[in-house]
């Protein structure tokens, strides 16, 4: 069951990216629309676009940092503690 934790981390990152991508996409869509309606206001629209994109990106990065922390918590000791059978063998990868 503990291996589901890896899926949880991956799903968390994926959901964050979906949300942030949807938000920034909507900002970009409405910004291009309003620039084409009123090209002389392009400067201030771009500024507002960058600010709101940065705020959304900040929230997305919080979630990503928490997901990375979750991934970092999944060490071999934790996995062995919760695994029923057999024990996880550490892969050295060398």
């Amino acid at each position: 069951m503990i291996s589901l934790a890896f899926i949880g981390v991956g799903l968390g990152i994926g959901l964050v990216v979906i949300g942030a991508g949807y938000g920034i996409g909507k900002i970009g869509a409405s910004a291009t629309e309003s620039v084409s309606r009123q090209p002389e206001a392009a400067g201030s629209i771009q500024l507002a676009m960058i600010i709101s994109a940065a705020l959304i990106e900040g929230v997305a990065l919080f979630a990503l940092v928490i997901a990375f922390q979750m991934g970092g918590k999944l060490t071999v000791e934790v996995l062995n503690k919760f695994a029923e059978k057999p024990a996880v063998v550490e892969q050295t990868g060398k």
């Binding site: 960058i50 600010i51 940065a54 990106e57 900040g58 990503l64």
Partner: protein, 353 residues
């Protein structure tokens, strides 16, 4: 002229590669380079000089040695591995040395430009001074003064300093590490190699230019964000006086909401703003470097199949070049965003809502 310069750069590159490659081959290298080690070397801090005020050395085997699982600040002398217990750890690390490089460059650029402009402020004083002046005016007008209402010199100075410090450290993190190149040339000329391995300090020549991203460290971004958070409160008290304490809550809120609204508006809100600034800068500057390293690691992952290697390597080089150009854009954008949000947040507390 131009082709001559390019040829010289390529010659230097090949000579360094040739000399260093020869010395590397003489040692036994049967292991594949581990990706974790490469990531740690590029992104994590490591000491160049050890410098601990007070404290005592704890050697391996003594109690209190194995508590830190990461083993980052462990040194080695003739008696074995040791680390410091207590005292003030002030090891000169790669990032500290890089911060000095950034500071020296900032002083050189701005003192030179300021001297050139001060000679005759109404005249155009050459390309270099003009370029600095354009950037300076952009930050002053479009970032600071358009978002803060008549800021005093302190706030302007903070925004300008933060912008140029973040910009320079973001951009210099993308430069090749000249210190390591100098160390390679030195060791190939003299034949003297710095000892390699855990606990060994690298050659002090690296300290010339370690080439690591300063803003990729949480301590640096925490300090910058803490300045902004303190200035949010400072601007409130400076421009509104003591009333700032109760004017932090917007007018028109019913009195029974004050116990909830006041702590959120006065305490949690500036702290959350600072936390967001800290994580945003750190994550953006780290993520780009990780992506470039991951694309580079594809070449080594596919090196078993000789047929695929050429294809994957050419794709990787193209991808890395693309990401590198994107990183230059991100370096400017993050310096802009950091100072823009700082000045908006500081400007918000200059007036009662």
């Amino acid at each position: 002229m131009k082709t001559k310069r390019i040829i010289i750069i390529f010659l230097i590159f090949f000579i360094v590669n040739f000399l260093y490659g020869n010395t590397e081959k003489s040692e036994t290298h049967d292991e594949k380079p581990s990706f974790d080690e490469v990531l740690t070397h590029h992104l994590m801090d490591s000491p160049i000089f050890e410098f601990n005020i007070g404290g005592r050395k704890v050697y391996q085997g003594e109690p209190g040695f194995d508590e830190d699982p990461y083993r980052r600040y462990i040194f080695k002398d003739e008696k074995g591995f040791y680390k410091y217990e207590g005292g003030i750890p002030l090891h000169i690390t790669k990032r500290v040395a890089m911060m000095w490089v950034v500071a020296i460059l900032l002083i050189l650029v701005f003192v030179k430009a300021a001297n050139a402009i001060a000679k005759d402020p109404l005249k155009i004083n050459g390309r270099f001074a003009n370029m600095v002046e354009v950037l300076f005016e952009f930050v002053r007008k479009d970032i600071a003064e358009s978002n803060m209402h008549h800021p005093s010199g302190l706030f302007l100075g903070y925004i300008l300093t933060a912008f140029f410090f973040v910009l320079f450290s973001n951009l210099l993190g993308l430069f090749p590490p000249f210190g390591e190149i100098a160390e390679m040339i030195y060791s190939s000329i003299t034949g003297h190699h710095a000892p390699h391995g855990e606990g060994q300090l690298p050659s002090p020549i690296i300290a010339i230019w370690p080439g690591i991203t300063v803003t990729g460290d949480i301590a640096v971004t925490f300090t910058l964000a803490a300045f902004t958070t303190i200035l949010i409160w400072a601007a409130g008290f400076k421009y509104q006086g003591v009333q700032f304490i109760w004017h932090a809550v917007p007018a028109g809120v019913p009195w029974w909401l004050y116990p909830i609204m006041w702590p959120i508006e006065f305490i949690i809100s500036p702290l959350a703003k600072g936390f967001a600034l800290m994580i945003r800068l750190l994550a953006n500057m780290t993520a780009g470097h990780v992506v470039i390293l991951v694309i580079a690691s594809f070449i080594f992952e596919f090196s078993k199949w000789t047929f695929l290697t050429v294809f994957v390597a050419s794709l990787s080089v193209f991808g890395m070049t693309f990401m590198y150009i994107l990183e230059i854009l991100v370096a400017f954008l993050q310096a802009f965003i950091f100072t823009l949000l700082s000045s908006i947040f500081i400007g918000l507390s200059m007036h009662r809502h």
